[in-house]
């Protein structure tokens, strides 16, 4: 029986043989970015195939204004801020959540409710970041808080949806993409069909898993589609992803959240690309509960994270990369997040 290693070698040779035209494929998900770098996938591909990173790392696309809002909440001592670990070191005006002892890293959003029950005299704020994979979890947490009458809990929603940002990238005249490596675990919730819209932009897509073999298979399928002039969206992660996804999770998401305009780092405002808490659940909306002032905080000077997220630049094009911006002293979120493109380049390339 062939080992994973043998299969990768075979795919590498097949891709080399098949590839004729110059193409660019985008890894949409941050976990794919890390996997591509970690397994040195680019070194196995012919010069004709260019792999670029996309906007799928939730921390990286969080706007400076949202980061500052999180810090405003953290500075108030009667609050406990619950967050996934990725957000903790993102800097804003030389400050970060790591500087506050009332910030707790959680594994599951439901942990925030336990903390709320254990600390009835304090306000618990959960930082809601993530795409379609994570937002249904936050929706269930809000619903549970309502059912259990937990009043000292709220969510600062910075959630986003993947399709709107992809549509913007695919319609941008200065970015030319032939195929997308589609996010495996977002697709587990949304289903494969959710991404059929990319065909309207004459772009192929393959839903992919996260092992080296998954990614090589995906690049092979994308190359095959391009060379055969086919525009299709293939599911190559069938062990987890179905056509329709988890409909129950999507229903729960839209029961609690609704679409809203949203600021993306480096990209700017994209209409209907964010998710805000519906009026029925407003008591759990931290922005309303604490009346946080909405400011417009500029991004750090010379930071190129925005252009890197749009695949217009790579980390070495940024004058800060490896100079003043390193994993120990990150300036932009693409270096802070363990799944950011700059962190991947720094660590592996």
């Amino acid at each position: 029986m062939l080992s994973e290693y043998d299969k990768i070698q075979i795919l590498r040779d097949k891709i080399q043989k098949l590839s004729r035209s110059k193409v660019s494929f985008m890894e949409v998900c941050g976990t794919h970015t890390m996997s591509v770098a970690k397994h040195a996938i680019k070194s196995m591909l012919p010069e004709t195939i260019n792999i670029v990173s996309g906007p799928g790392c939730p921390v990286c696309v969080t706007s400076q204004t949202d980061i500052e809002m999180s810090l405003i909440l953290a500075r108030s001592e009667n609050k406990i801020i619950c967050t996934f670990g990725d957000m903790i070191k993102v800097p804003s005006k030389k400050d970060s959540l790591a500087n506050y002892k009332n910030v707790k890293i959680i594994y599951s959003p439901l942990d925030a409710l336990k903390i709320a029950n254990e600390n009835p005299d304090r306000e618990i704020v959960l930082l809601g970041i993530g795409f379609e994979t994570t937002t249904p979890l936050i929706a269930v947490t809000i619903k549970t808080a309502m059912q259990e009458c937990i009043k000292n809990f709220s969510v600062l929603s910075m959630h986003k949806t993947v399709p709107t940002a992809l549509k913007l990238i695919l319609s941008s005249p200065d970015i030319s993409l032939n195929g997308l490596i589609l996010p495996g675990h977002v697709s587990a919730v949304t289903g494969r069909k959710y991404f059929d819209f990319i065909k309207d932009y004459h772009t192929c897509g393959v839903v992919a898993g996260f092992e080296a073999l998954d990614i090589m298979e995906c690049i092979y399928l994308l190359t095959k589609s391009v060379e055969e002039n086919k525009i299709e969206v293939i599911n190559n992660y069938t062990r987890i992803v179905s056509e329709e996804g988890n409909q129950l999770a999507m229903q729960l998401l839209y029961e609690v959240f609704e679409d809203c305009d949203c600021q993306w780092r480096g990209i700017g405002e994209i209409p209907n690309s964010g998710l805000k808490i519906r009026e029925k659940f407003q008591a759990y909306d931290a922005k309303i509960k604490f009346n946080i002032p909405v400011m417009n905080i500029p991004e750090p000077k010379n930071c190129r994270c925005g252009e890197i997220l749009m695949a217009k630049k790579t980390p070495p094009d940024c004058s800060l990369f490896k100079n003043t911006c390193t994993p120990l002293n990150p300036i932009g979120p693409c270096m802070v997040s363990s799944e950011g493109t700059c962190a991947a380049y720094y660590k592996y390339l």
Binding site: T31, P58, F84, Y107, P109, T134, H185, V186, N246, L252
Partner: protein
């Protein structure tokens, strides 16, 4: 951030919860998105929530990779 891990369901609990296990480590997870789970089902878990059921064959592929990793790095999980 969208990592998901394959685990086995070992107990169905009340209030949309289940107990899952991998390599002797047990964890209580939410089954809000997969209400029809049964004991011995294999599932993938993201941030304390079951996202989907998977087949035992797919799960065992994943576990084999873990075993290979543990063997090569000389680590052991009891």
């Amino acid at each position: 951030m969208c990592l998901a891990v394959p685990v086995k369901v070992i107990e169905i609990l009340n209030n949309n919860k289940a107990k899952v296990a991998v390599d002797g480590v047990t964890l209580e997870v939410s089954t809000s998105f997969t209400p029809d789970l049964q004991i011995n089902d294999y599932v993938i878990v993201h941030a304390g929530f079951v996202l989907e059921k998977i087949t035992p064959e797919d799960a065992s592929e994943k576990f084999k990779l873990w075993d290979e990793y543990l063997e090569k790095t000389g680590r052991k999980i009891c």
